[in-house]
Symmetry: C2
Subunit: 360 residues, 2 copies
Amino acid sequence: MSLSQYLSSRIKSVKKIMARRHLDAVIFSDINNIRYLTGFTGSEGTLLVGQGESVLLVDGRYTLQAAGEVQGAAVSEYKNIFAGIEKAAKKLGARKLGFEAGATTVEAHQRLTGELKKTVLIPLSSELKLLRARKDKYEIATMKKAALIASGAMAEIIARIRPGWTELEAARQFELEARSRGADGIAFETIVASGENGALPHARPSNRKIEKGDFVVIDFGVRYRGYCSDETCTLAFGELTVAKKNAYRATLRAHDEAIAGIREGVAAASVDRLVRDVLGKKYSRYFVHSTGHGVGLEVHEAPRLALQSQEILSAGMIVTVEPGIYCPGRWGIRIEDTVLVKKNGCEAITKLDKKLTVIE
Amino acid sequence: MSLSQYLSSRIKSVKKIMARRHLDAVIFSDINNIRYLTGFTGSEGTLLVGQGESVLLVDGRYTLQAAGEVQGAAVSEYKNIFAGIEKAAKKLGARKLGFEAGATTVEAHQRLTGELKKTVLIPLSSELKLLRARKDKYEIATMKKAALIASGAMAEIIARIRPGWTELEAARQFELEARSRGADGIAFETIVASGENGALPHARPSNRKIEKGDFVVIDFGVRYRGYCSDETCTLAFGELTVAKKNAYRATLRAHDEAIAGIREGVAAASVDRLVRDVLGKKYSRYFVHSTGHGVGLEVHEAPRLALQSQEILSAGMIVTVEPGIYCPGRWGIRIEDTVLVKKNGCEAITKLDKKLTVIE
């Protein structure tokens, strides 16, 4: 199947929602949804998916680019976006329009309501939440390639990294290596958090030098053809205390058991619950975030693997599993893989072995 | 003045809005506004600014980090954000709360309305639009440093670049050079658009090799301590046709005259009008975007320098001036500086000379 066939099947899933909600059209302003549905890679635009035709509205910066990229939608240049939407709605004969309640601001909604006098605007929330969650074959292939580039680049850094490197140095070396292996860029600021910095789950790399006795949390991802990868390894430098070894072992067991428990039909919340159970009383209070999240065009997208999550995992979803233990002021551990949910299990698309790696 | 004094004066400007609108508190969810008001550099949080105290709500990932970074607000960890906001509003004794209409989704607003039963939610739009537009001395100093790093790094690339380099190579070399000069990263994907690619204002760098006769548009910015820089130069490779030379001259004249026209009290729209007037009938239809935008914690922020803009420039605003001519399928030119608006004029904080540079 070509990309244009995938795009047309994605548009069809929007049309199913339209049929269910008796809508003439849906307005999309989330740029990732627009890329997903049309192939447009610009930073701004508005898409109206109609019963028959669809229209992508762009400003003058993107007219040429959109004409070259977009498939399955007409491209129209606007001067004023609200007037542009009104004109497109008229062209599509749309009077009852859905919109992304989770991506439309109160201000934009007020202005739309003011402009679109002859139409009814219907907020869509849960209907669109999982629009991009189940990846198609095109996306799975692209995401596997992204993950492979990132894992390969990090394997190279692990072979070279030594005590005395700064966190920033390690982050920069990874990014260079990933670029040289074909990544378009990084998916998020690479985290290299050594020693006490590891206790901050979202630490920024600093000039701290890695020392013997440190755990170093490295959370890294690349962007490849729009898609993100996400993986974390925690390296040990020199001999570890027994307490640290035990904590690593507990994190790895939580990671492994969570992955073993993932398959179609499992509640996302139950994976988070499983991780907390395996971490047990001793460690779970130091696990300060949720177990995972979907990955795709965005590095964080639906579904969430968290206690409050209502979602059920289905085949084709690609999610992270990333338990961690953070000991304030002292050290941190996180072990993360990204997995593709299947009917009877799951497949890790990130490729580094998570057994404890000790660097002398 | 220390950062904490600047933060406290920024919070005061919010309190003025509260007094004017008779609000007990304002809820912020725009992460850049939160950084601006508290110093918090995480990726997610919610800030309630009250009459007396303020409260920053973060999830478990950021509790430690926020405690170390935030000044002038209490930090509180939440499990459920809507319940967290309700608790914080109660703590602040706030019954009438403003919120960012331009940064709150319809969905979040619905959930907030459901949760905050005893409170009234007031949308704030125009009141907050220019919250960060006038930079204080701390910000001006930081942004000058960001611009200086970027201009210096690009000067180095201009000294080395030759026909035969690919666009991607030039982009990567700039990024390395900027990092080595102290940039924390890039502010946006560097644009290096040669030959016909230059006709796309937001082209992505490709493997196209730069040839003699090309214009190459290079739009580049770095991030330094959270703040962005933004500058564009267009280089000529080898001898240019007379038509291209004339187009460059027209763009430069539009750029220079716009900058000469900027000072406190001038309407943002009139700067855009001036650029179109200078470009004249011959070129202005090839100028497919607006003249400029504010820069700060975001690379695009208020005010806009566009025909539809309602804003008046004031001293302390930092805005781009970036006229361009895009000849579809053939070539493009853009010349951009970022300037600090002053009482009687403006000062360019980006530093490359924009006279035509010819590279042999």
